[in-house]
């Protein structure tokens, strides 16, 4: 006869452990949902604040690549301290035109003079963007249970109506909260590493500050490909052409709305380094170029191609982010010059 007492106790321990696991997961989900909505509140507060009526606002928008621009440095570089112009960097991580479209009315309500929109390849491609090297892709002969499981996991998440992407990054939110707790608002104005009054949605991604060596950048590329060996080719889907690409349609909608409200729009392609560009499919690069041409022609707006301008400079944090630490890097200077040129025009 099995020892019933032991079995009962086992069940108790197992149930306790599983309950703790389940409860902790639920707590994370609750926390993430709450925080996500407070982030939304934060955006509302920013856009609906009473701005100085004499202030002429210039908004830099885009994702983390634009977040790496130092708006304070650009401001000091191109404007006199007494100038009415003020540059805000309103980028946020993982931004895409579709997500940005949700805030376009807020942006318009803040009445900026100019919007400078940083657009990158990943704005138009679905899936997790991992570097791919099509030549080294290895096909597996046998079925891959990992993919089936991930699909199940994703479907369960969807059926429970979970914001899957947000749930993936509790650490970033916790870090942001900790940063806000230990830094006073005056710190924000002086530090270039965390969120500031002119960069209100950029969490304390304090890691993007130092310049990596070329070897390290190459290694990142190699490592990412090795680690994602079997999924490399799946991790970023090919960019859909213009008529099917929801993000491209959203981008056009954003530009149209801004123009209807007499806001000047400038688009630039966000910079990447050589390892990133080398790993991309040629077809995707061509489609991206077509997108830029369509925008430029259809809306008659200036489009600056910066995606391959800095490939040989030692300014990179990783393969798609210029390091934030250095003020005088040419990318900041170039964006400053673009703003100046457009204002003169």
């Amino acid at each position: 006869m099995p020892n019933l007492e032991s079995l009962n106790s086992n069940s108790k321990i197992t149930l306790s452990a599983l309950s703790v696991l389940l409860f902790s997961f639920l707590l994370v989900i609750f926390f993430m949902n709450t925080y996500t909505s407070s982030m939304e509140d934060n955006k509302t507060v920013f856009y609906h604040q009473v701005f100085d009526s004499n202030e002429k606002k210039i908004f830099l928008i885009g994702s983390s690549q634009t977040g790496q621009l130092n708006e304070v440095f650009i401001q000091n570089l191109i404007f006199d301290p007494k100038s009415n112009y003020k540059i805000y960097n309103l980028s946020y991580g993982e931004d895409s035109p579709e997500r940005r479209l949700a805030y376009i009315d807020d942006i318009i309500s803040a009445k900026p003079e100019n919007v400078i929109y940083g657009i990158g390849f990943r704005d138009f491609a679905k899936g997790t963007w991992v570097f791919t090297d099509p030549d080294t892709q290895k096909e597996n002969i046998l079925p891959e249970p990992e993919i089936y499981f991930q699909n199940i996991e994703r479907n369960v998440g969807l059926s429970l109506n979970l914001d899957y992407e947000n749930l993936k990054y509790p650490q970033a939110i916790i870090r942001n909260i900790l940063h806000n707790m230990i830094s006073s608002p005056s710190d924000y104005q002086t530090t270039e590493y965390g969120a500031t009054l002119t960069k209100p949605f950029w969490p304390s991604f304090d890691r993007l500050s130092t310049i990596a060596t070329d070897e390290a950048l190459r290694d990142i590329y190699v490592q990412q490909c090795e680690q994602n060996d079997r999924r490399c080719s799946l991790s970023y889907d090919p960019i859909n052409p213009s008529e099917e690409n929801k993000n491209f349609i959203a981008l056009k909608e954003i530009i149209k709305k801004l123009q209807e409200n007499d806001i000047e729009v400038i688009v630039y392609s966000t910079p990447h380094n050589k390892y990133f560009l080398d790993s991309m499919r040629e077809s995707d690069k061509q489609i991206f170029d077509t997108f830029l041409s369509i925008i430029s022609d259809e809306f008659d707006i200036p489009v600056y191609q910066l995606h391959d301008r800095y490939i040989n400079q030692q300014i990179w944090y990783d393969n798609s982010h210029i390091a934030l630490g250095n003020n005088d890097i040419s990318h900041n200077v170039d964006i400053g010059q673009i703003i100046l040129d457009e204002l003169k025009n």
Binding site: M1, P2, N3, S6, S9, N10, K12, I13, T14, S16, A17, L18, S19, V20, L21, F23, S24, F25, L27, V28, F31, T136, K138, N140, I141, L142, E144, P145, E146, F149, E153, K168, Y169, P170, Q171, A172, I174, R175, L178, T191, Y193, S204, D206, R207, S209, T210, I211, A212, T213, E215, A216, D219, I220, Q227, D229, R230, Q314, Y317, D318, G325
Partner: protein, 489 residues
């Protein structure tokens, strides 16, 4: 399959449920074997064939070695087994490295060989399971082990999923008896020798696993960005190198010992005892003490299957030093086909040899009372760890130039702070985690058998411990399950 994923949690729960339901030992073994092979297949796909080949080769050669009367034939069979295992390891792990060195040498000699790389996928865990398989045939040859009677039993030993991909390196003589004599402790009168999930093992196993997950996900994974981001030379300062090096030391310890903890905990729940792999290595007071505390299953493997066969310390003093260096050189190479691992191994070989040399030249050092005092111990720990952490630089940086610049900055402090202060500000979060680790490590050093003590807490307190641990793990989860560093080896 990574331990730090939902997939593993689901997989493990299914395995536990099935083991509880299946009452027949043979079926339990069969089920565990199938689960282990599935676990490997999940991440390695067709490379499963290598694992199966290794199992078949060593099982049949082991049997033949045992059966054969002639010593000469035994030797040949053992050589065949070693050649088979090392060929498998060498071909998949070192072929491209060898080709690269050959091409470089050829270019130096103006031969321009330009042999193309094979670009083989590195099979996960190959270094671990081949070493395990070697213990089997060598121990049979030495007469220390009776070969496994069934292929099922041997296959389960090699492929047992908790330790399959990154150890601890379990010896056949430690594992097989557990399979054979796995009798329910609280014997119930049945003749079934079955795997029974026991209450104390379940609690302790879950506690150890929680420790492992905490080390891996909360500490190690949160130090990745700091340790993998190499600052370019003009900006690099000594303080930055020191911080990064300490961070890497903490990360690799938490990553690897975290894996070992999860493996040991999972095996314990299933009723198996795996050897301890780490014992607070950063409190080691000498290089030899370090290797009694770090990756113990590898260092003892190297001692028993390499150092002693080479002659160990039984020959001349100079031979002992040379043996230490050779063993650590090969130990370094075992980690990966790259010169930085070789340099790491050689450095450790030198540390061990110099330490031995000092003790031989000045025997008084052994018994010096000062080193037994608290101050003496602390000084010994700091000196030892200074060199251990110096060696982490080549381990973590493959680029030779960058590695030497970092080592130079580590040894010859420049006391520059222009870039270091912004660097520290920008890395305050991982630096805080490093501080937290030091605190926890100290607590765990001073509290003997911490996991056992925690597992014996009253149920509500134990649940609270689990909850706090999970809170840190889940709320500081970085978004992507990061592979364990030792998966690459």
């Amino acid at each position: 399959m990574l331990f730090s994923t939902i997939e593993f949690v689901v997989f493990f729960i299914v395995v536990l449920a099935a083991i509880t339901i299946i009452k027949n030992r043979q079926f339990q073994h069969l089920f565990l074997l199938s689960a282990s092979l599935f676990f490997f297949y999940y991440s390695s796909n067709y490379l499963l064939i290598l694992l199966i080949s290794s199992i078949l080769l060593n099982f049949y050669l082991g049997k033949q070695i045992w059966k054969t009367e002639s010593q000469h034939q035994k030797k040949i069979l053992l050589a065949l087994s070693l050649a088979g295992n090392l060929a498998l390891l060498g071909f998949f792990k070192y072929a491209d490295f060898a080709i690269l060195q050959f091409n470089i040498l050829g270019q130096e000699l103006n031969l321009n060989p330009d042999i193309p790389f094979l670009n083989l996928a590195l099979p996960i865990g190959i270094s671990f399971y081949t070493f395990q398989a070697i213990t089997y045939t060598v121990d049979i040859y030495r007469g220390k082990l009776i070969p496994s009677k069934t292929l099922r039993e041997f296959a389960l030993f090699v492929s047992f999923f908790p330790q399959l991909v990154a150890g601890p390196i379990v010896r056949a003589s430690e594992f097989l008896p557990q399979l054979r004599a796995k009798i329910q402790q609280y014997e119930t009168g049945t003749k079934l020798r079955q795997i029974v999930i026991e209450n104390p093992n379940l609690r302790l196993g879950i506690t150890i696993m929680a420790f492992g997950f905490f080390k891996k996900i909360f500490i190690a994974d949160n130090l990745i960005l700091l340790t993998e981001h190499h600052v370019a030379e003009p900006e690099l300062e000594s303080f930055m190198v020191i911080i990064r090096t300490i961070a890497f030391g903490i990360r690799i310890y938490c990553d690897f010992s975290g894996y070992s903890d999860i493996a040991i905990g999972a095996a314990m729940i299933l009723g198996f005892k795996l050897p301890v792999n780490f014992n607070k290595p950063y409190f080691a007071t000498s290089p030899s003490d370090f290797w009694k505390r770090w990756h113990i299953s590898l260092s003892s493997w190297l001692r028993d299957y390499l150092y002693i066969p080479l002659g160990g310390n039984k020959k001349s003093v100079s031979n002992t030093y040379l043996n230490l260096i050779i063993v650590m050189f090969l130990g370094g190479l075992w980690h990966g086909a790259s010169w930085n691992f070789v340099i790491w191994g050689l450095l450790h070989g030198l540390y061990l040899a110099i330490h031995k040399m000092l003790l031989n030249k000045f025997p008084v050092l052994k018994d010096l009372r000062f080193f037994k005092t608290k101050t003496g111990k602390i000084i010994s720990i700091f000196i030892t760890q200074y060199f251990i952490f110096l060696a982490w630089i080549p381990f973590s940086i493959a680029d030779t130039n960058l590695m030497f610049v970092n080592m130079q900055k580590y040894v010859f402090l420049d006391f520059l702070t222009e870039n270091s202060i912004p660097f520290i500000i920008s890395q305050k979060y991982p630096i805080a985690i490093m501080g937290f680790f030091v605190l926890l490590h100290l607590i765990s050093y001073r509290t003997k058998n911490l996991p056992t003590k925690l597992s014996k807490l009253k149920l509500p307190y134990w649940i609270l411990f689990l909850f706090v641990t999970l809170f840190f793990i889940l709320f500081f989860y970085g978004g992507n399950p990061e592979p364990f560093i030792y998966f690459k080896f």
